[in-house]
Amino acid sequence: MKNKEPSQQLIIEGAGCASCVGKIESAIQSTAGVVSAEMNFADRTVMVSGTAHASELIRAVESAGYNAKLLDNAKADQILDEKEAADWEYYKKLLRDTFIALSLGIPLMIYGLFIGEMTVVTTTERISWLIVGIATLGVMYFSGKHFYVGAWNSFKNHSANMDTLIAVGTGTAWIYSMVVVLSPDVLPLMARHVYFEATAMIIGLINLGLALELKARGKTSQAIKRLIGLQAKTAIVIRDNKEVEIGIEQVLENDVVKVKPGQKVPVDGEVVDGHTAIDESMLTGEPIPVEKNVSDQVVAGTLNKSGLILFRATRVGKDTALAQIINMVKKAQNSKPPIGRLADSISAYFVPAVMIISVLSALAWLNLGPEPAIAFATVSATTVLIIACPCALGLATPMSVMVGVGKAAEAGVLIRNGEALQTASKVTAMILDKTGTITEGAPKVTDIVLANATDEKSVLQLAASLENGSEHPLAEAILESAALKKIELLKIQSFKAITGQGVKARCEGKSLLFGNAKLMAEEDVDLTGFTGRAQSLAKEAKTPMYFAIDGELAAIIAVADPIKHDSISAIKRLQANGIKVIMLTGDNRETAAAVALKVGISEFYAEVLPEDKASKVKELQNLGEIVGMTGDGINDAPALALADVGFAIGTGTDVAIESADVTLMRGSLHGLADAIAVSKATLKNIKQNLFGAFIYNIAGIPVAAGVLYPVFGILLSPVIAGAAMAFSSLTVVSNANRLRLFKTRES
């Protein structure tokens, strides 16, 4: 039995060992009004039930030697706000640093380009450049200190990073220039060139690049922010016959929660009273509100559009479907597809390799270059270091994955990891299960063909009354049809089920028969004139059943599992993408053929057992196909696991989320086409990013080292390299942001 006391959750600080748990729990339990206290050591939180005030609980924890604070109901929002505030402060600092550095760098560059030579010949020039050198040192200290400190710390740790390249590059330029200023005589006249403008400009531009990147980055994680924003902050629960508004973290399982029109559903639950239409679009991508009646499930984060409902909470806190989805999207956003791991292994060796290339380039210029060789050597070594920073390479994949996975989640498609994201884009053959995947999965009455009877309603009333006692799966379809038409059931007598044939009974003095042709033949019911109609219904994948009253055929009632309204268009989308679509079903051949024909699938396999579904997957894989398998049931599990990518049709509230590679939150197969479209777009985006990063990094290095100089006389300026490096990350992040505009559904 769940505790019904109000509860509060505290975060405990300073609890370093499991033995602290008992101490903290007993300290809280000794507070007046506390009914129970349970500490979760893994996340250092205590759930306290009872009426004690939060401040008393915090005091009790403090008296036990620890610190505590109340877990705010808007914790997720609070974390995001804190992050945004910290990012904003850092953004301002980066802009300030940029301004300081460029205030010196830009005038110096203009002077060098249009006004005078940046050489040191006369004493006046020496004094002037010494002042500029000191000013540059000031810029290095105020605007670039973080690069030098980072580089030094990294060096001490036997590792090299972006800071290393910037620090060594700008440091080299500054030291060389200071040697020119302080001891010009050690260098030939032609080599007495200063590069203070390069140092200041590089520091300025890289800070500017970081600032712009920070801003663009904020946008890439908007999907998660939107999902978190879906959560309601408070809930109205009915306790002791009174309505109380509490934070959502205080809602307990089995609480009765009230949701008014226009309010968000605070936790997952089952409707116990009222009916409404709920907008589940942010969770499933489905734009049409879904009707909810008693015993229907409602999901946290969805929006109540019309009626007032009461529901019993079934999942609260981190167990709600929305919380699980947020967690899964977060996890997937940080897992890299195989293509991304390649970039990682490259960037791990990149920085020291670049440093070696820089030294080799300097040596080549010194030994083989024209005069002033030392100046050329310095410029090329510095430029190689600056342009080669693998920052963009490291960002190329995670930024696109972050947007892509988020984009898919917005369309109601949960992609479990980076690997699935990449493989989904390569699928060449898609196997679709029939029942529940292409079709609704629930049989419905499709036709009532009247024979001797004149009134459809009375036929349905008698048939449903008769089937009320039956356990046959098709009986449910008839009962549902009657319930939809609000038909009242009648009392039945002498009910008898005839295995494999149907049922018979008496009702209001009439003898009723309901079943197949065999039953009718045995009971001498004349079917003349109606067998043709029954056959044509069977050809449309419908199951015809005969209904007789007092020995005469009254009607044919056909039941079928209807094809989902958008299965045909979704399958067309898949086929248009060059994907071979195959249908597998355990159903009989006739029904399978009818469904396949209707949805436009030419290759199908009927009467397939669950284990045979898996071997069909294997068979296609052996033919070289990259196989996607889509199914909804436990019977599809082996095939889903064996396929290159398993797509589960899930309601989004059960195990499917955790077990499938990709979960389609809504039943529609358009989710499948959307998943593949997002996957393709993301992979394309990653490739563009990697190409961009490689161009900056790989192609830039030989140019910086001076390979174009002997033929074209081109030697890259360190300032251009600095700008290219700074903007390469920005390009990558901006390109990833472009994915946000991607539309999943074809208009």
């Binding site: 850092y90 400190v149 920070l214 940080n334 010194l366 920052c391 960002l395």
Partner: protein, 117 residues
Amino acid sequence: MLIANIVGLATIALIIWWFWLYKPKAKSALKTDVEVIVKDGVYSPALINVPAGKPIQVRFTRFDESPCAEMLLIPELEISEQLLVNKETEIVLPALTSGEYKFHCQMNMYKGLIRAI
């Protein structure tokens, strides 16, 4: 010129040894509760020795505002965590089998190693 060439080649040899060949020695004793500071471009300590077979708490405190330091990834353990500035983020690792587990930032610029012994 000869001196410049010798200095250059020696620098290359130093880079290779310092960044690639150097094998770090563990400074810390085996602990199940470890504190890591994220500051100025590095994790300190970057090499963590932990006992194998026991759950471990690693507490990361990020003082580094750079966006590079924001995400912490331990790929082998499928852990990714956002580190907030000036805040402690605790990560509970499951009981590890003996071996090495790399951790790094999103861009693979900040690097560290957990060694389960």
